[in-house]
């Protein structure tokens, strides 16, 4: 339904009703901005990249094929624009151990996580996302927050489906490792 609605607005824009683009901008601006922010970690840069992405999308709207969702297509432009910006600014990537955790350990972490308060879970998420690589941050947000299928993520990032899956798996492993560390620190604080 949402998909069809976007299509109707795109047809209006292509027929010269430029104002119809306001609908698409309002609908996707928050997610486009959030994704850019995950990559760039700077509000000004993220806003500029999100705006550029909307302009690029407008410029090539006639090339947009109805085969994909508008959001998928737009997020791909956001991703590419943010990647170009990152290359220019040579973003420093933190090295985080991605060995993850063993199965038994994982069960303990999951149990301990469920005992965390709402505010602590939120605090951990912010800390963990801050430490992930920009593209991992982008991928896990699309997968776990936006609940995009691996196929769509592959389209957005131009990775193969398997490559996207591996990257998301590695990011998850990193986050599990970070959660383990966070829980240990919390435990030490309590003791």
């Amino acid at each position: 339904m949402e998909y069809k609605e976007d299509g109707q607005y795109i047809r209006k824009i292509l027929n010269g009703e430029t104002n119809a683009y306001t609908f698409l901008v309002n609908k996707y601006k928050s997610m486009a901005f959030s994704l850019a922010l995950k990559m760039l970690r700077n509000r000004e840069d993220a806003e500029e990249v999100a705006q550029d992405a909307f302009i690029k999308a407008y410029q090539s709207l006639s090339q947009f094929r109805g085969g994909a969702r508008f959001s998928t297509w737009l997020y791909r432009i956001v991703y590419n624009t943010a990647i170009s910006r990152l290359r220019r600014s040579s973003f420093e990537v933190l090295n985080i151990d991605d060995t993850g955790v063993e199965e038994k350990e994982s069960n303990e972490i999951i149990d301990a996580y469920h005992k965390l308060k709402e505010s602590e879970r939120k605090k951990f998420l912010d800390i963990a996302l801050e430490k992930l690589d920009p593209d991992e941050n982008f991928l896990v947000t699309l997968y776990y927050y936006e609940e995009k299928e691996l196929n769509e993520i592959a389209q957005i990032t131009r990775l193969t489906k398997n490559n996207a899956k591996v990257k998301i798996y590695r990011a998850r492993q990193k986050m599990m490792g970070m959660l383990k560390k966070y829980l240990n620190e919390e435990l030490i604080e309590i003791l």
Binding site: T18, N19, Y21, T22, V25, N26, K29, S30, M31, F33, S34, L37, A46, E47, A50, Q51, F54, I55, Y58, Q59, E103, S106, N107, I110, Y113, E118, R121, K122, F124, L125, L129, V140, T141, Y144, Y145, E147, R172, M175, M176
Partner: protein, 144 residues
């Protein structure tokens, strides 16, 4: 391991359900739409061809027509008027048709000089109008 993957994925989904979506500045949409309006005028005004395809065809046909007329009119070795020195195009080489065209052009310019003058004046006027239009379009774009 699949079961473990499932459990970890569930944990991640639970975690990400707490993620906030960040809002851009309040003027975000206005700024994008302003840039879109510039884009629209840029593409519709600046990249609009000044001379359409049909106009180019008409110009090409007219030029060809002029050449054909010059070939068909008059004879060879025509001289200029009495006010000009006697110049005769009497070139003697294998590509004699060039000499023939040159001589006939001479005759046309001589016999129908007012007509040619009007044509040249008309073409100049069109050029001036087109250049003026092009400059004014650029000025409109810069103002936005």
């Amino acid at each position: 391991m699949k079961k473990q993957d499932q459990k970890e994925n569930d944990l991640m989904r639970d975690l990400f359900s707490r993620q906030e979506v960040f809002e851009p500045s309040s003027s975000f949409t206005e700024q994008v739409m302003y840039r879109v309006s510039i884009e629209k005028s840029y593409y519709s005004e600046i990249y609009r061809p000044l001379i359409s395809k049909t106009a180019w065809i008409v110009i090409a046909v007219s030029v060809l027509g002029l050449i054909v007329i010059t070939i068909l009119l008059g004879g060879e070795g025509t001289t200029y008027t009495q006010y000009l020195p006697d110049i005769t195009f009497d070139l003697d080489f294998n590509l004699s048709w060039i000499s023939s065209v040159a001589n006939r052009m001479n005759q046309l310019f001589h016999d129908s000089s007012p007509v040619v003058a009007y044509i040249i004046f008309g073409l100049l006027a069109v050029c001036v109008v087109l250049i003026g239009e092009s400059l004014s379009l650029r000025r409109i774009f810069q103002k936005q």
